[in-house]
């Protein structure tokens, strides 16, 4: 059985696709998600092999979601959309397949076939990703989209990944690794990413360690491992 995840903001669309997928007898629908944030969590938790992804969704589109998935966790992606205004044929090479709603069972069987052979061949799905221009964060009961340019630093610990701005800190479902890969934020410590534009000064300590003081007056540790790279970027 192929482990699948459905992401679509419409209840009926999710249910219909789930029914159709289960009717093929080859797909195990692990979960259905109504938006990109739920999907990020589910992907990290359930590690699906294939993602059936709607494009038009509130706040974050299907394309946005792809940019937020860790490379190692990246499942195969099948776009499902009502109307092909994105000229999905152009994505054919990058995505495994695409389906048009309402989905025809016969067409769906072909897609499942494709997924199965891709998995059999052991191809690691790679999608061309772009720089993130918004980081989805939780703020009270809302999802807040934060522009990486206003982020001062990001800190990861047992409680999760927190994005710090001058307004405060917000939890995000994205991993530090994804954020490092898809934004201009720089790793300065195993648990920290920093925005170089927000650095006020760097204090040099013994043992090749350092400490960053940000413009907001926060102090961030710099580990020996990442100091070299930081110096290169800053040009000293």
């Amino acid at each position: 059985m192929i482990r699948a995840l459905i992401v679509d903001d419409e209840l009926h669309a999710r249910e219909e696709l789930q029914t159709l997928l289960e009717e093929t007898g080859e797909i195990n629908v692990l979960a259905t998600c109504a938006n990109a944030v739920e999907a990020i969590k589910a992907i990290q938790r359930l590690r699906p092999e294939v993602l059936f992804l709607d494009i038009q969704m509130p706040l974050l589109s299907g394309f946005d979601l792809l940019n937020m998935i860790d490379e190692e966790e990246m499942p195969h992606v099948v776009f499902v959309t009502a109307y092909d205004e994105y000229a999905l044929k152009a994505f054919e090479e990058k995505t495994l397949d695409y389906l048009l709603k309402p989905v025809e069972p016969a067409r769906l069987r072909k897609t499942v076939e494709k997924v199965r052979s891709a998995l059999k061949a052991g191809v690691q799905p790679r999608y061309e990703t772009q720089t993130l221009n918004k980081i989805p964060c939780l703020s009270a009961n809302k999802i807040k989209l934060i522009d990486p340019a206003v982020v001062e630093h990001i800190h990861s610990d047992l409680s999760g990944v927190r994005v710090f701005t001058h307004e405060g800190s917000f939890f995000t479902e994205l991993t530090l690794k994804t954020l490092e890969q898809r934004t201009d934020l720089l790793r300065c410590h195993k648990q920290y990413l920093v925005n170089v534009d927000h650095i006020d000064e760097i204090l040099l300590l013994e043992n090749g360690l350092a400490e960053i003081k940000t413009r907001c007056g926060r102090q961030l540790p710099v580990s020996r491992r990442y100091f070299k790279r930081l110096k290169e970027v800053l040009g000293f």
Partner: protein, 559 residues
């Protein structure tokens, strides 16, 4: 006494000159309200000639000349002011001076003085806003009388020897003062009558032209068709009193009104060569029936004998002609000829306006088509997807949704008129919303607050649907939280106000820039209901977007 009669005889020559002058093109100089330099030069030449003739026609009396020279100088002053009067007086005076005699010098001065006196009276009258009196015979009479008296005084004062002067004045004073004054009065009355005739003629002409303009105004806006052409032809015939009026397009007679209508049936082809010539060359063709014969090509018994053909133009392109006819026994009045050309240019302007209106209407129609075509494929396929999912779970609900979908599309396609009742618009919107509510389920709630009294109100079609679609598509569908669309319609401050509000507040910028079909909705309301009505946008980012549609209290009516 003999001298008086002889001077009167001489004066009659002046009256003949005055009469001829009043008929000559030079007289046009006097018909305007104010005199320009060119006109003054003409008047100077005419009156100087009069004055000099007055000297030549004069009778030798005691080594002097009894004459009617004063008339030209005084009238020039009266009509044209001191400068003109002085110039004429000086010219005639110098001329008299060259003829010699013991009064040569006195007469030279006095004629100039007479012209200036006329000019002073002119100034006095103008300053007291009595311009009409410039052409008053009695004022001319009195002025000339005193001018001649002045001349007598100058002769007495300056001519030598004094004894001869006094005996001369005794002989000529009375006849000259009388004949010159009467002559000037008669001269000016001829001029006045002729001038009045010109004025009256002009007034009649203007009145007629204005009447035609007033009556035809707006008819052609409905387009250039046989029925509008017929109305126009009737009006022109009634107002100008010509024998018959025809209006043609480029190929056929659209309307014919008046004599000989029996054999000039509307709808028939243009047979007259002069009409074809007018269309071909884009110029006025006139067959006066004398030099250029006019022959009716349709019937040998046609009573019409002369014709004027004026092309009707839109942007200098001939679209038809207007023809004025007079019967054989009647002359074609010059007045009607000018009027005919004026009317044609007036109608051409109206046709241009009609074309503009027509294009504006086309624009409204194409805007409507645009709105209809905006039904977006996303909506259709998502609707079909939703329904196909619901069929599994609830066939009845699925059937209901299909009926809504079909109602929505039927309304979209069928609605070709400009206006519909609010109830019809709401029905259209309701079908749309029913489908979107099924699609978004608990993410979309609709709150309605419609004043039932407004349901029969006429509003432009496709006013609500595009705006509600914006609220759902660009508002609610982009929210993670539950969305609410509020739809209100009520009377407020003598207007009908329809509000569509969503709690997303996500498309402020785009809608304020006039995108998303709002521009068309707004423009259609303005075109169909009046410029003061239309849409307003109020939004608070991430809180709400509210579109307010303001409509006339009594709804919109097609005009």
């Amino acid at each position: 006494m003999t001298l008086f009669l002889e001077l009167l005889q001489e004066m009659s020559v002046f009256l003949v000159i005055a009469y001829l002058f009043s008929k000559s093109p030079a007289f046009r100089s006097l018909t305007g309200e104010s005199l320009r330099l060119r006109h003054k030069v003409i008047l100077y030449l005419v009156f100087s000639a009069c004055s000099i003739l007055g000297t030549y026609f004069g009778l030798p009396v005691q080594d002097a000349i009894a004459n009617t020279r004063a008339i030209g100088a005084v009238l020039a002053g009266l009509i044209g002011g001191p400068l003109l009067g002085g110039a004429v007086g000086l010219t005639a005076g110098l001329h008299r001076f060259t003829l010699g005699g013991f009064t040569a010098f006195s007469c030279g001065i006095s004629t100039t003085a007479e012209g200036l006196l006329g000019g002073l009276v002119h100034l006095y009258l103008v300053r007291n806003s009595r311009n009409n009196d410039l052409f008053s015979p009695s004022i001319a009479l009195v002025t000339t009388f005193f001018a001649e008296a002045l001349q007598m005084a100058i002769i007495l004062a300056t001519a030598h020897p004094f004894s001869e002067a006094i005996s001369l004045v005794q002989v000529i004073a009375a006849p000259m003062m009388l004949s010159n004054s009467v002559g000037a009065a008669l001269f000016i009355s001829i001029i006045r009558d002729q001038k009045n005739m010109y004025d009256k003629f002009g007034a009649i002409f203007s009145a007629q032209a204005l009447k035609v303009a007033e009556r035809t105004l707006g008819i052609l806006v409905r387009g250039f068709s046989p029925s509008t052409a017929e109305q126009i032809a009737d009006i022109i015939r009634e107002e100008t009193g010509v024998g018959a009026v025809a209006i043609t397009d480029r190929e056929k007679i659209l309307a014919f009104s008046g004599m000989a209508a029996d054999h000039h049936p509307p709808g028939g082809p243009i047979t007259s060569e002069i009409t074809r010539e007018a269309i071909r060359n884009n110029k006025v063709v006139y067959a006066d029936g004398v030099n250029t014969p006019y022959h009716c090509t349709l019937s040998p018994d046609c009573p019409l004998g002369s014709s004027l053909v004026v092309p009707l133009r839109i942007d200098n392109e001939v679209v038809g002609t207007i023809k004025l006819y007079e019967p054989k026994h009647k002359l074609f009045l010059n007045l009607n000829r000018t009027l005919g050309e004026g009317i044609a240019s007036l109608l051409s302007d109206q046709l241009l306006r009609a074309r503009y209106e027509e294009q504006k209407n086309l624009l409204i129609k194409s805007e409507l088509k645009l709105l209809q075509a905006q039904v977006n494929p996303h909506f259709l396929f998502n609707a079909l997807n939703t329904i196909s999912a619901i069929i599994r779970k609830d066939a009845d609900r699925a059937r209901e949704l299909l009926l809504h979908l079909s109602n929505f599309f039927r309304k979209n396609l069928k609605r070709s008129g400009d206006l519909a009742t609010l109830a019809e618009e709401l029905d259209h919107v309701n079908s749309y919303l029913k489908i979107e509510m099924a699609r978004f389920e608990d993410r979309l709630t609709i709150e309605r607050d419609i004043d039932p009294q407004l349901l029969n109100l006429k509003i432009p079609t496709f006013t609500l649907q595009p705006i509600i679609e914006n609220a759902v598509k660009h508002g609610i569908s982009t929210m993670l939280e539950p969305g609410v669309v509020r739809l209100r319609a009520q009377r407020r401050n003598g207007q009908v106000v329809v509000e569509i509000e969503d709690n997303a507040g996500t498309y402020c910028e785009r809608i304020k820039r006039g995108g998303l079909g709002m521009k068309i909705v707004n423009q259609r309301i303005k075109n169909l209901c009046g410029q003061e009505f239309g849409t307003q946008v109020a939004c608070e980012p991430n809180q709400s977007t509210r579109i307010t549609i303001v409509l006339p209290e009594g709804g919109c009516e097609t005009t």
